[in-house]
Assembly symmetry: C2
């Protein structure tokens, strides 16, 4: 996932929803492995056939015994690796996806291209020049403009938080490099990341508005390794564009110590290239519904990654989970009543560009889409099921909640945001659901060079696939009116 505000909004919802229950979560026992078929509750029988309930339970239990999810991540990270939006590598990932989705038995496998503004990392380097000289480890933020060749060197204005930077008077940063040293907090929901990442999105704007010539921030990550989580940033039309980069956490701490010993100066150089308009693509595939083929249940993830690692967790994990689930359902002797549409979005990391392109292109048909979801939270265990549907439709989800309960998944609220790429769908009125995953350790690795296959738990992927598979089948076959 790349755009923090969406996850942040969702995370706050989870916090509010859980209330005192959060404490109970912390004491949760190991998740039971569901093997028996659930007893549907009386009010649930209205929305779903017993045969479909049985299929959903069977899919769930099959997934717990092992899925293709990890093998898909292994293949993607080994045969493609890093796949930055708008590059040849991302196009190779799309061809990989076409091959895999075809192999998994999906229909209508195709690529839809779109245009985007490209951005490619170049040489980047930073160092303190006073009061003591140190090399700093940085990662230029996506869409940052370059510095001049040779870099910029300036006095540093250090802020403990974005709020402190915003409290600085206009003009007070003239000619300076503004640095925010705020450290992200670990949370199960990702809310700690959501709070910290605001500096990535608006820090350069706020700094430039106050006169700064450059912006650095402690990386929006929760680790203490000597590399900096990257990610996209933004500019405002009415403010000068200044170069921006993230600092490795230990380097941000070093700056705090140096600043106590005398005026702090930094030289930093970053030379990304902005090649103008480039092409990215979404990969789409269907399991065509037997009764209502135009009503889609979206099963999605994003195919692009950042450039440091191989995007194993972000979002290889989502590709693995949704790809495995699609393959399981495609292999069933029975077709679902509604269509299931797999969408592997391109260019999520640069601002949901693939998702917006999809919505723009398919807008005329979105009114028929039944519900959407995206897996983009790594391999953390699923722990809550949320929806964003008409209140009147909530009872229809009781069978879903019942099937997920043995997986250690608690009922959530009706404020689901799902993955970031579901935002344009939500704005277009498409109902959503979300299977929330434990993100406590996700931001140790997210957008870092260490987001590699060895971090991915096959059993966690299978646990998620179990939830996704059962839910997808129920949603593709249930009777309900999800829109107000």
């Amino acid at each position: 996932m790349g755009v923090g505000i969406l996850r942040f909004a969702g995370a706050l919802g989870v916090i509010l929803m859980l209330g005192a229950g959060v404490c109970g979560m912390a004491q949760a026992q190991p998740l039971p492995q569901a093997q028996s078929q659930p007893q549907p509750q009386p009010q649930a029988q209205a929305s779903i056939d017993a045969a479909d309930l049985a299929i959903a339970a069977k899919l769930r239990d099959q997934a717990l015994r092992g899925t293709d999810a990890f093998a898909l991540v292994e293949s993607l990270t080994t045969e493609v690796g890093a796949r930055v939006a708008g590059t040849d590598a991302e196009a190779r990932a799309a061809q990989w996806a076409v091959r895999e989705l075809t192999r998994l038995g999906l229909a209508n496998v195709r690529v839809e291209t779109f245009e985007m503004q490209g951005w490619v990392r170049g040489p980047e380097r930073a160092q303190t020049t006073a009061p003591f000289a140190h090399e700093l480890v940085i990662s230029t933020l996506g869409y940052s403009v370059p510095t001049p060749a040779g870099g910029i060197e300036a006095e540093v204005a250090l802020f403990d938080s974005l709020e402190e930077l915003i409290a600085a008077p206009l003009g007070s940063l003239d000619g300076k490099i503004a640095v925010v040293t705020y450290a992200a907090v670990k949370t199960m929901t990702g809310a700690g990341y959501g709070y910290a990442v605001r500096a990535r999105r608006s820090g350069a704007i706020e700094a430039a508005r106050r006169g700064a010539v450059g912006f650095l921030m402690r990386a929006a990550g929760t680790h203490s390794n000597r590399y900096a989580n990257t990610g996209a940033m933004a500019y405002a039309d009415d403010v000068r564009k200044i170069p921006a980069a993230a600092l490795a956490p230990p380097d941000a701490a070093l700056l705090q110590r140096l600043a106590k010993r005398g005026p702090l100066r930094i030289r930093f150089e970053t030379r990304p290239t902005l090649p103008g308009t480039v092409t990215s693509q979404n990969v789409i595939a269907d399991i065509v519904g037997s009764e209502r083929p135009n009503e889609y249940v979206i099963l999605s993830a994003h195919l692009d990654s950042w450039d440091g690692g191989t995007g194993a967790l972000d979002d290889g994990a989502g590709i693995g989970i949704t790809g495995a689930v699609a393959g399981m359902i495609a292999a069933l002797p029975t077709r679902p009543k509604r269509s299931i549409r797999v969408i592997f979005f391109g260019a999520e990391e640069f601002g949901l560009i693939g998702a917006r392109a999809y919505v723009a292109r398919h807008r005329a048909r979105l009114g028929e889409y039944f519900i959407g979801n995206q897996a983009d939270a790594g391999d953390g265990r699923p722990y809550a099921f949320r929806t964003r549907v008409a209140e009147s439709a909530l009872p229809a989800f009781d069978p879903v909640r019942a099937l997920l309960r043995p997986l250690g998944i608690i009922p959530g609220d009706n404020l689901a945001t799902s993955g970031p790429d579901m935002t344009p769908f939500r704005e277009a009125g498409v109902p959503l659901y979300g299977i929330e995953q434990d993100m406590t350790d996700y931001f140790d690795l997210h957008h870092t060079p260490s987001d590699t296959l060895d971090k991915v738990s096959a059993s966690n992927l299978d646990q998620n696939a179990a939830a996704w598979a059962a839910t997808t089948w129920l949603l593709a076959n249930m009777e309900a009116a999800l829109r107000p």
Copy 2:
């Protein structure tokens, strides 16, 4: 610490020594904080005055309440940072040490220079070119020769271990890049590192002997981050010198996956510079003994570090522990009977060069040295006290063992190797002791860019300082003949 065989030898000793007791260690309770004065045992009273026992216990308990150790590491890593042997940065570290040892009240603070062959990291880069293209993260091994500009590109011969490489016939690696993917095992003693690091020392020799044109190895570290532990390597006079580098652990795993998909090829380029003879230095300071000033108790650490991080654990921690202990003893109203000599060695990482220079320069007086020790194992908790002295002298150490017992330190064997820089002293006949530290997590950070201050535990440093301080005082005042 830099030269694995020394630590390895020591670690094996610990394993043998502990025997079945290793299991007991795993269940150890939190270490008690000693606050009361110990009752000396009858057989111990012969070797040490009650007044000195009381001073040693007081030093120990004072250290547990807090020492300068962390502040020294903070200062060194902030005001100097990385300090590769033979560079200006190492010389600045020496000036820092002169300032700090003087401030701490030591006498005869001085610098002794020596010459060494310099080596400075240059640009380094690697990538797979078949069967799929990936960028690899490498760290050139210290003293490696450079590749030609543009690098070398060759088919890869992959080996699971150094043993497998050595089993390959002569000529079987002609024109290839040999890669060892062996992963280091975590151990409390560091023995897992000691086993893995053999590839760093002899891998390039063994590969070249079989015809290889380049050598890569999975970094001798126990983490899974996307950077490679560096360290010095070696060449043999009778074998061609081939360039050598360490791979980040996830990248080594990637190579194993790629090799299953077709012939693996790698291009790698490294451009270190070898400036010839450069100058390094040891920093020396004394607490002059009141009765036997020519009998030295050595309290040592090493001042140089690798270039990626700031050498906070390796060996900032040792500098902090020994510096703090020296300062505590210098501040006492009573002088020890023997002299305490603080030595902050230069150029440990390139092969104990500073220690060898010291021994060569002071050889005529080494016969009078009472005992030596070096702190070079990070900030892990102390857990065993070892010696390498005449068997007849062992009972004289009973008071030491008694004073260390409340710190959770068990009696060890008489095969101490102490820190790596004590090797030339041992070879010259100087008795040694060692305070073994828990190294389970040390090789997550050792020789990596993440060896930074935020990893250092002030309370662990104090726990070590407590052991070192009490031991140093007892050794400087005890009656014993330590040599055979």
